[in-house]
């Protein structure tokens, strides 16, 4: 099948263009043998169905990070390149264009963000640019879809110009770029827009902090409001009206206490099915992922998508840079960290954007210790929140403290260097809802596909182990740490062990134990810290290597033992 690649600098509206070019069936995948993600879709070219791949954004085809290396590697597999150029930043973007033209693959240029050129006072002579580059140039607006038909219509005109564009070195290429720009672009008077004023405010040190705090507060409020809203108005009523009547009938048919009743429905609590406590495969096993966790997955990724696509995260990176340097990282590490609040797996993968091995080790370890994923968050808010908001605050306060302290220590202990921040700050843009919607769908369906089977498998295993009484043996071994240091009843070990598989299920297992508020705080903090879930573990091992993953886990266990004991003493 013919394969078209979408190539361009970061922040040039590539994903919006991608979403306009392809239909609804978009797949997110990783480049073979790596954890660098890209998205793939299809489009119709006449009668032919061709593959379209969105290559991660890059400024040059001379890579400077692991992620960029993969982007360059992927260039070899394409039959045609759509080079997405930011029309408001012609010079820098054309440097990549000329590099692409030096290769053999046919190129067509999409002059994107075309609508933005007017208020910025930029006039570009498209015909002249096309003449100079010797490949088709089509003005486009990815967000509205303007120019997309024309782009598709002219795809067959794309061509390779290898013979005419070769430059002995980078300086010669820049000279040519300057030459082209001076021939095709003229600048006129421009107006300052209201969001440019906002940009200036968030660059200001004090203004930046105020805005960051507002954004952070608004984000938490939004995630909570949307998450709780979906639970109380959609998922809970659905379970109550549709699923409960079926389960009640099944329960009667199987008879409480029978083997299949214990496995499928679990224990009846005061004669009723309790979705948090019964712990059957199709009662709690369905309820936790679909009714309790999914709403928070939706609300978190919706908030994250908006923050990503309006261009806020790089600003947060700048603001956090000084603090992050104390922890052996630089500001950009805040981006994988924020991702971790959704799921630690993509977060650990995203540590690849950091340049040094020291940074990647520290970032990945800190994420695994101090950043609970959306599934765990949903359960902490749901379960600990029943005892009162202050207890939820204690859990997150302890996690944040561990994150900072361990970071400070690791910075001194881990050998290696910590390069400085170098990041483009894109202009603020209105949220492209279409892209945000598609990204949300990819992430939510990813959760359902990947997490649901593991949740069900875990619940099933728990039930079988219970029936055979295997947990008693484990509980006896772990009792000294558990009761001695953490002051937890010995049954909680079962939940902590299960935490290795799924932390949300583990939290669910704490529900029937009738723990006090203090015990709940300690057990959820320890659960979040002491070990990564199996999916994160696999990715950690792949990213860090066997030796470093063992070190990281040693740090996690030590940190959990210390923090749990401190909580037991102080609370």
């Amino acid at each position: 099948m013919m394969r078209i690649l979408l190539v361009g600098n970061p922040n040039v509206g590539k994903s919006a263009l991608f979403s306009r070019l392809t239909g609804t069936h978009i797949i997110a995948s990783n480049y073979p043998g790596t954890t660098v993600g890209f998205t793939k879709g299809h489009l119709k070219l006449g009668a032919e169905r061709v593959e379209l791949i969105d290559i991660p954004g890059s400024y040059t085809i001379e890579p400077s990070s692991k992620a960029e290396e993969v982007a360059v590697e992927m260039l070899k597999d394409g039959n045609l390149i759509i080079n997405v150029v930011d029309a408001t930043n012609l010079e820098r973007n054309l440097n990549l264009t000329l590099q692409l033209l030096e290769r053999q693959t046919p190129v067509i240029v999409a002059l994107n963000m075309w609508d933005d050129t007017r208020h910025r006072g930029i006039n570009i002579d498209v015909a002249k640019l096309e003449e100079l580059l010797e490949v088709p140039v089509v003005p486009t607006v990815g967000v509205t879809g303007q120019g997309i038909r024309e782009l598709i219509r002219r795809l067959p005109e794309a061509k390779a110009t290898k013979t005419t564009h070769t430059y002995s070195d980078g300086d010669e290429r820049w000279t040519r770029v300057g030459n082209i720009v001076s021939q095709v672009q003229s600048l006129s008077h421009r107006h300052h827009t209201w969001y440019e004023n906002l940009e200036d405010a968030s660059n200001h040190p004090a203004g930046g902090v105020v805005i960051a705090l507002l954004v952070l507060f608004a984000t938490f409020w939004f995630i909570r409001l949307v998450g709780e809203g979906i639970i109380s108005y959609i998922t809970e009523p659905l379970f109550e009206w549709l699923w409960t009547p079926l389960l009640v009938r099944l329960s009667l048919a199987l008879g409480p206490g029978s083997f299949w009743h214990s496995v499928l429905i679990g224990n009846l609590i005061e004669g009723k099915i309790d979705y948090f406590q019964s712990f059957g495969l199709i009662s709690t096993g369905f309820y936790i992922p679909l009714a309790a966790v999914l709403p928070y997955i939706v609300s978190f990724y919706l908030a994250l998508g908006i923050l990503e696509d309006i261009g806020y995260l790089p600003r947060l990176a700048v603001l956090m840079d000084t603090i992050m340097h104390r922890m052996g990282l630089h500001g950009y590490a805040i981006i994988p960290t924020v991702l971790g609040f959704g799921c630690n797996v993509p977060a650990v993968m995203a540590t690849r954007i950091l340049e040094s091995r020291k940074q990647r080790f520290i970032a990945a370890t800190l994420i695994s210790i101090g950043v609970p994923c959306a599934a765990l968050n949903a359960m902490i808010i749901g379960l600990v929140g029943q005892q009162g908001g202050q207890y939820v605050a204690m859990v997150y306060g302890s996690l944040f403290l561990s994150w900072v302290i361990i970071g400070l220590i690791l910075n001194r202990v881990v050998k290696g260097f910590n390069p400085e921040l170098l990041v483009e700050i894109p202009p603020y843009r209105l949220p492209p809802w279409r892209v945000i919607g598609e990204k949300l769908w990819l992430r939510v369906s990813g959760f359902i596909k990947e997490a649901l089977p593991i949740v069900l498998g875990t619940v099933l295993m728990v039930n079988i182990l219970y029936i055979f009484g295997l947990f008693n043996a484990i509980a006896n071994i772990a009792a000294p740490v558990l009761t001695g240091l953490w002051g937890l009843p010995r049954e909680t070990i079962v939940a902590l062990v299960i935490g290795f598989l799924r932390k949300d299920v583990a939290m669910g297992m704490l529900a029937p134990l009738a723990l006090t508020a203090k015990e709940l705080v300690i057990s959820s903090t320890v659960l979040a810290m002491f070990f990564p879930c199996v999916a994160t573990f696999v990715i950690l091992a792949r990213e860090l290597g066997a030796r470093d993953v063992l070190k990281a886990i040693g740090i996690m266990i030590a940190a959990a033992v210390i923090m749990g004991s401190l909580q037991n003493l102080v609370l």
Binding site: T60, E62, D200, P205, V318, P419, L421
Partner: protein, 92 residues
């Protein structure tokens, strides 16, 4: 702090809002290449937009884009500032 030749300051030393032309990037091949990819290279007009406390990142504008870079990198970028007045030497 190194005093540069007439009218030349490092990006770190420049005042906020000050504009100038990049003369040279001190530092290794890697840094020069990474900055070059972002169109920060000798001959380019840059404006310092902001700096942060405790020697945090410096933000500059080059053409229509903004780039934030660490203070250490900012110290390695030598800029010939516009509207140079001798008494502004060494001003931050």
């Amino acid at each position: 702090m190194t005093i540069q030749q007439g009218g030349q300051l490092t990006l770190a030393q420049m005042g906020i809002g000050q504009t100038g032309t990049v003369v040279r990037v001190l530092g290794g091949h890697g840094l020069i290449r990474r900055l070059d990819a972002l169109d920060i290279r000798p001959g380019k007009k840059v404006t310092k937009i902001s700096s942060t406390l405790f020697h945090g990142p410096v933000t500059l504008r080059v053409d229509n884009s903004q780039v934030a870079l660490g203070f250490g990198m900012a110290k390695k970028i030598i800029v010939q500032v516009d509207n140079y007045l001798p008494d502004s030497l060494g001003r931050r």
